[in-house]
């Protein structure tokens, strides 16, 4: 046991040095401490005794980015397989055990992270750690569980393909925007790949990525820190360290070139378009300025493009969505518009370009800037509202940065963005020759 070796006093010093207060002091910061087990598992603890609840999130640094061509969908399949039982927890029992004590649970997969999380009454913390450690170490991967999961996922894919208009176009658009396979293929993978995934594929994926040295365990809420550290050691420390992942993401080859393509969709009832701009983030603080730009343009009913396309008196679009999207080190601004009728599709597209141009030619007013910042602040605070939100937030930051000591002050930096910063990034990235457009026609 790492911390028993150094003793309680040593532990206190390590924790204090490690980052008892890793965020700069502000009234929204919440304290956390962190340490690493011998097997490489990163542990983050954040106490909050407001209510007798505790949240546990286990995140693995693996997602669709780690899939090879021909093996797409493996990460999402693996997420589902994690509920199919482990050596000491029968299939579906993880869900049942959490449900029985009044808790809630879920999981998610992104391009570079697979997260499993639950909130339970605080007296049930050991139950969660027992189950999470069991599936980290002894997941039962059998032909039967693989076939059952594969069947469920194929059903979902078939349902989506036959019910969701514009879905296939969305996949095409992502390929145009992100270009290379790891970043551009859909999270669910392709049906063909999913059908041909083998038991060995799944076992190898699990053995490679679902290991303590590729994971972070975050516990937030009402718990006793010393007791919790003992529980973590008890359940996780004997899990053997895995091989260190050799995965290295492909270097970003940014190409500035306009792409325009047109596709048809038999499910689409109205014409639509996807528009995107690649954001290679030339300067480190550009992301904060782009975030405020995103709010000015797209967030909330009173944002510029929302008003222009879905205004109370001037509704030319049926649907509008989008904003900044980050896929690990790739960043893009995406807009999706369904026109209100077939004749207004060009009007919608021109309106979007016109709003982008306006942002380059006139500074947003101070009031508009404050509005954007306050909306961002509200959304940021919503991301850390509950113990579960905090646990997921910390896992995401750790996976993205590899080290919470260097956690950027996202809220503070975004609140300092100026009008000039917004106009600067609008000029830098929102140019015609940096745009990618996919027009979708009805069949």
């Amino acid at each position: 046991m790492f911390y028993k070796k150094i003793g309680v006093a040593g532990l206190a010093i390590v924790l204090a040095a490690g980052s008892l207060l890793s965020q700069a002091p502000n009234k929204y910061a919440f304290p956390f401490s962190q340490y690493k087990l011998k097997n490489g598992l990163q542990v983050i603890l954040s106490e909050d005794d407001s209510l007798p609840v505790v949240s546990v999130a286990v995140a693995y640094r693996v997602g669709s980015l780690h899939e090879l061509p021909g093996k797409s969908g493996l990460a999402y399949l693996m997420e589902n397989m994690m509920f199919s039982g482990s050596a000491d927890v029968p299939p579906q029992q993880h869900f049942n055990n959490i449900n029985r004590v009044g808790g809630k649970l879920n999981a998610s997969t992104s391009e570079d992270m697979s997260t499993f999380y639950q909130t339970v009454p605080s007296n049930q913390l050991a139950l969660v750690l027992w189950m999470e450690s069991d599936r980290m170490r002894f997941l039962e991967i059998t032909e039967d569980s693989l076939e059952a999961t594969r069947k469920d996922l194929l059903d979902i894919m078939r349902q989506r393909r036959t019910a969701d208009p514009y879905l296939e176009n969305q996949f095409s658009f992502d390929q145009l925007l992100y270009m290379d396979f790891p970043y551009s293929h859909p999270l669910l993978g392709s049906e063909d790949d999913l059908r041909t995934l083998t038991l060995d594929d799944v076992k190898n994926f699990y053995a490679t990525y679902y290991v303590p040295n590729n994971a972070v365990l975050c516990i937030t809420g009402n718990f006793n820190k010393m007791k919790t550290m003992e529980l973590v050691a008890k359940y996780f420390e004997t899990i053997p360290r895995g091989k260190d992942s050799s995965f290295v993401p492909a270097p970003y080859k940014y190409i500035k070139k306009q792409v325009i393509k047109t596709e048809e969709d038999s499910l689409a009832l109205a014409p639509a378009f996807y528009m995107g701009f690649r954001l290679p983030l030339f300067a480190p603080n550009d992301i904060y300025s782009l975030t405020i730009l995103d709010y000015i343009l797209m967030r909330g009913r009173s944002s510029r493009i929302m008003r222009r396309l879905l205004g109370l008196d001037n509704k030319i679009a049926y649907q509008l969505s989008g904003g900044i999207e980050k896929r690990r080190d790739r960043c893009a601004f995406k807009i999706f518009v369904i026109a209100n009728n077939p004749y207004w599709i060009n009007q919608c597209q021109n309106a979007v370009f016109s709003e982008l141009d306006k942002l380059k030619t006139a500074f947003p007013s101070d009031a508009e800037l404050i509005k954007a910042k306050n909306m961002f602040k509200r959304d940021y605070l919503d991301r850390i509202a509950t113990t579960l939100d905090k646990a997921i937030f910390l896992c995401e930051k750790y996976i993205a940065l590899g080290n919470l000591d260097a956690m950027p002050l996202e809220l503070e930096k975004t609140m300092k963005v100026t009008n000039t910063d917004v106009v600067t990034v609008a000029h830098r990235y929102f140019t015609t020759d940096n745009s990618v457009i996919l027009n979708v026609r009805t069949k």
Binding site: S50, N99, N123, S133, N374
Partner: protein
């Protein structure tokens, strides 16, 4: 040499034994620690302001946001008979624009304080909920003051709200769950003011300025309202700020006749409503009961056993065992005049008939056979454990607060929750189940008729209704 081999063997054996011993804890779930005390923020209520407005504060310095809720003691059941839905209409008009701020100004203003505004019209009360960054209480109160004191009841505002709500209803009517629930309300509360909760989309065309003004004039009064602030603000400061903005809000004499008692339908009935192109079909099955008839805690346990979660009887039967349904749950809702207990299930069209039979079977079972103590303990354990997990979410927290305040459940309601659930005995559960289903339940099926026609023929008798709630015809099995 021999000695060292023996020693090595002993060491290996000891290590193996030690490892096995260490890992033995993995074989079974660890027992829970003792349950921790639930300490909830207290609700402080001031004496009414001079105009009769009650103000309560839930002090929470852990929140970076503030929540401002205004309860008006007049809900859908208070809408005039000739114009059902007027309560909803009033709430939307009041919050959409004021005499000095247009709808888009208000939209922009709320977003500029990092806020959101929602409106809910329940059977007994109307609830306006503002959520905003905690630096902006004065601005939020000022906007609320304008909405209450200078509302915009112009024809333009009325037309705009009617048009938005008509579109909203058109969208909702494509959802079989909405259609089935609305129909269930209409029939279960037939001839009771709560029936107006199920008003049809067509009622919107009848909404008019006169009824709106009358409703507002009668119910939007400070002595008929309760303002609740949740956040980091002391009571004294809260009342000062509220008083400064709303002291000119004029009180009036209130006259609300008590509602007649709720009488459940006397015979089992199965209804169907067509939802063209619906992608799935649903079964809603329910019953109603008078308010003083049932102990809410015991009924919550009944609902938990029957269909509270995916481990409850309905889900385990209809989905896990039979494979008929995507989900099957039950819930109990309590209001001033009585309660509603209902089951909702989303099922595959080919299994509509057996699904209804299985739900009825489960209801018969729970009313005729005592529930095992272990099952009751399990349900109580879920309810107690889930309570803090649920109210950790601000939305659930403020919803619970508004119910406590609107129904005068007492400011220490929070702290009694655990105790009341713990006191529920198997006898109380059995009695609650029997009382709840004293009358046979009503069944509503909603889905695409073209998909379900052959399946509906399997029922002995089924009444077909249109979306306005008017009976069209009856399908009888023997006539096929």
């Amino acid at each position: 040499m021999k000695k060292s081999r023996v020693l090595l063997g002993f060491v290996l054996w000891a290590v193996a034994l030690s490892l096995a011993g260490q890992e033995r804890f993995r074989k079974a779930p660890p027992p829970p620690e003792p349950r921790q005390e639930l300490k909830l923020p207290s609700i402080e209520t001031s004496p009414p302001l001079t105009n009769g407005l009650r103000v309560s504060v839930i002090f929470r310095d852990d929140l970076p946001m503030m929540i401002l809720q205004l309860i008006i003691q007049g809900g859908e059941s208070s809408s005039p008979e000739r114009s059902a839905g007027t309560a909803s209409f009033a709430a939307h008009v009041v919050t959409r624009s004021t005499q000095s701020r247009s709808a888009s100004d208000i939209e922009e203003f709320i977003e500029s304080i990092g806020g959101s505004l929602s409106v809910s019209t329940m059977e007994d009360f109307t609830l306006l909920t503002f959520r905003f960054l905690d630096d902006y209480l004065d601005q939020a109160l000022e906007l609320l003051g304008q909405m209450i004191l200078k509302p915009d009841f112009s024809e333009k505002a009325i037309k705009s709200v009617k048009s938005i709500l008509t579109l909203d209803y058109l969208g909702r009517e494509k959802n079989p769950e909405f259609v089935a629930y609305r129909h269930l309300i209409r029939l279960l509360f037939k001839n009771h003011p709560y029936e107006k909760m199920g008003f049809p989309r067509e009622a919107i065309t009848n909404w008019n300025q006169k009824d709106l003004l009358e409703f507002f004039d009668r119910y939007y009064r400070p002595n008929n309202a309760h303002l609740i602030l949740t956040g980091s603000i002391p009571m004294r400061m809260a009342t000062q700020k509220v008083s400064r903005v709303l002291n000119t809000w004029q009180q009036a004499e209130l006259s609300q006749k008590p509602f007649p008692p709720i009488t459940p339908p006397q015979k089992e009935k199965i209804c169907f409503i067509d939802v063209p192109l619906a992608k799935y079909c649903v079964i809603y099955l329910g019953t109603v009961f008078p308010s003083d008839d049932l102990d809410p805690s015991s009924l919550s346990v009944v609902s938990q056993v029957l269909g509270g979660t995916m481990n409850s009887r309905l889900f385990m039967n209809l989905r896990e065992s039979k494979g008929y349904a995507y989900f099957a749950f039950s819930q109990a809702e309590f209001s001033r005049s009585g309660g509603l207990f209902f089951v909702r299930a989303k099922v595959a069209p080919e299994f509509i008939y057996p699904s209804v039979q299985e739900i009825l079977k489960e209801i018969r079972k729970i009313t005729r056979e005592p529930i095992a103590i272990s099952e009751i303990d399990q349900a109580k354990s879920y309810l107690i454990g889930n309570f803090p997990v649920a109210i950790e979410q601000l939305g659930v927290f403020s919803e619970k607060i508004s119910e406590i305040m609107a129904y005068d459940r007492g400011n220490d309601y929070w702290n009694k929750y655990y105790e009341q659930i713990l006191l529920v005995s198997p006898e109380k559960v059995f009695t609650a189940a029997q009382k709840c289903f004293l009358q046979p339940p009503l069944v509503v099926i909603a889905g695409d008729k073209s998909v379900l026609t052959n399946r509906l023929n399997e029922f002995e008798s089924i009444d077909v209704y249109d979306s306005k709630g008017i009976r069209q015809y009856t399908i009888n099995k023997e006539k096929q």
